[in-house]
């Protein structure tokens, strides 16, 4: 039994002072329902999450009290991916036919300030200033550049592409292209990464209506099928964010594990994928995630990015909506934004940021603390 996405909705990302996070989630949910031609009262279940904007199940206050079982999901950056897995299994089990997945958030400005004790780490770790996701990404790409000869110019080119793609996407936060020089010369945040190479916490909402595949035609003439949805946490020996120490012998991280599991589940390979959205918390993450998700060998990113292959018209279009760098990261909504973008791409509705040649298979990947990764593969 397959699962189809038959409705999508999104509240633009960025800053919307006039709407709470919850209202942005409700906005996205209404759009998704309208897209599917369905009513809120038709929803047999809902899964949703928000990290900083209240309980997702409070959406019932906005959308109507129908008695729907609404389950809150909280899984850091993989919240959207986890909601999707839950919905997938709910339908696949045969228990339900039609339901909603929603994610929204509204964060304060500036870097996230995580609480070490909530993650089982000593208080000292935060006091001395190491409870910073930005440091982890900087140290990971620093080592990676050393090992695989990635240049600083390649770092800047990833951000340049993100802002170009963002400028083509009306839902993006950053809609002005920024040149390589300005990116390189912007304030150093964590060496070797500058301000414009990072995404920032932001606001936004995304919702999806899912149903049993054989019922999809009832709601849409362009169903998109969820061929795989996987989530993995770190194994011993992988190098992850918020780790006071790591093992001398390194193993593959959760991204590699989630990616392999997804390709196996969908029975396709990296070469079959036409468009991909990869976690780009900062430019180094996008570079490393290209290889970790199986789309190239370690080190090949240098020539692929320099020659423009990861742009919208290239052979390996990545983060076609501008990614986290141009959209910011509302934690609860971020992973679902990637799925929203891929559904647009597969329906051929992405307008200016549409990938050419009618893409058939699309891939999403998120990564977050404390070392989790979620992947989806969509097919039209």
């Amino acid at each position: 039994m397959d699962v189809a996405i038959v409705g999508i909705g999104m509240h633009p990302f960025g800053r919307t002072p006039s709407r709470s996070g919850l209202q942005q989630g409700a906005y996205a949910a209404r759009m998704a329902l309208q897209d599917a031609g369905a009513q809120w009262r038709d929803m047999q279940f809902a899964f949703g999450g928000s990290a900083s904007a209240g309980s997702a199940d409070a959406l019932v206050n906005e959308l109507g009290l129908t008695g729907v079982p609404f389950i809150n999901v909280a899984n850091g950056c993989a919240t959207g991916g986890s909601s999707l897995i839950a919905a997938y299994n709910a339908i696949k089990s045969g228990e339900f036919e039609l339901g909603l997945v929603a994610g929204f958030d509204k964060h304060e400005r500036g870097a996230f300030n995580a609480d070490p004790e909530a993650l089982g780490i000593g208080k000292w770790y935060g006091e001395v200033g190491m409870m910073m996701t930005t440091q982890f990404f900087a140290m990971k790409i620093q080592k990676y550049m050393y090992d695989y000869n990635i240049s600083e110019s390649t770092l800047a080119k990833v951000a340049e592409k993100a802002f170009i793609n963002g400028s083509k996407n009306p839902n993006a936060w950053r809609t002005e292209p920024i040149g390589v020089e300005e990116i390189t010369d912007s304030m150093m945040v964590n060496d070797p990464l500058t301000k414009f190479m990072f995404c920032s916490p932001s606001e936004g909402g995304v919702a999806l209506v899912l149903c049993r595949a054989e019922k999809a035609e009832k709601y849409t003439d362009s169903p998109v099928y969820l061929k795989a949805a996987t989530l993995k946490s770190r194994r011993f020996g992988s190098f992850e964010v918020f780790a006071p120490s790591q093992a001398l012998d390194q193993v593959e991280g959760p991204t590699v594990d989630a990616s392999r599991a997804a390709f196996e589940m969908a029975a396709v390979g990296p070469d079959d994928i036409d468009v991909m959205q990869l976690q780009d918390t900062e430019v180094g993450a996008e570079i490393m995630h290209m290889a970790e998700n199986g789309f190239c060998e370690h080190g090949e990113q240098e020539s692929l990015i320099q020659s423009g292959e990861t742009r919208i018209g290239g052979s390996m279009p990545i983060n076609t909506d501008g990614g986290c760098i141009a959209n910011g990261e509302p934690i609860g909504a971020s992973g679902l934004r990637q799925v929203y973008e891929n559904v647009l791409q597969l329906r051929g509705q992405a307008d200016e940021h549409q990938v050419p040649n009618e893409p058939k298979l699309a891939y999403t990947h998120v990564y977050g603390a404390p070392g989790i990764s979620a992947v989806t593969i969509l097919q039209r």
Partner: protein, 141 residues
């Protein structure tokens, strides 16, 4: 005399003639954890033995924290007096890679593979005058 207090109990030996970071070695699989842990993250065994970690290692990777973090960061600094600081992972031979603050904050003076010593220095001063001691990695000169 100033009272010197370690930033966390059990993170390193203190006071000691020759202070050292403390880890725990799993009696089942031999893997070392830092900080000390009652469970081995590699094999889930709870048969752990505390040991002192080596005082010298090599820099595995690093970055410089260029802006002042929000809470839970807790130093004596204000946004005006904040000085960027280095952070890195140092590979301690036979043990584990430990993440720590670096004494060096000049990116031109840091290189992957360079030798680093563990040192123990005052990090901040409490209102009552107590000095809080933390561990740092310092390039070997």
């Amino acid at each position: 005399m100033t009272n010197q207090i370690p930033i966390a109990e059990g993170l390193f030996t203190w006071p000691a003639a020759k202070p050292a970071l403390l880890g725990s070695r799993c009696r089942n699989c031999g893997i070392v954890s830092f900080p000390v842990s009652s469970t081995c993250m590699a094999c889930s065994s709870q048969d752990m033995e505390i040991e002192e970690l080596p005082g010298r290692g090599t820099l595995w990777t690093w970055t410089i924290q260029q802006f002042m973090p929000k809470s839970p960061y807790r130093s004596d600094e204000t946004p005006e007096t904040f000085r960027p600081y280095g952070v890195g992972y140092v590979e301690l031979p036979g043990g584990v890679r430990v993440e720590g603050r670096l004494t060096e904050n000049d990116p031109n003076k840091l290189q992957i593979g360079m030798e680093m010593d563990v040192v123990f220095e005052p990090y901040r001063t409490e209102e009552n005058g107590d000095e809080i001691i933390n561990f740092f990695f310092r390039p070997v000169r």
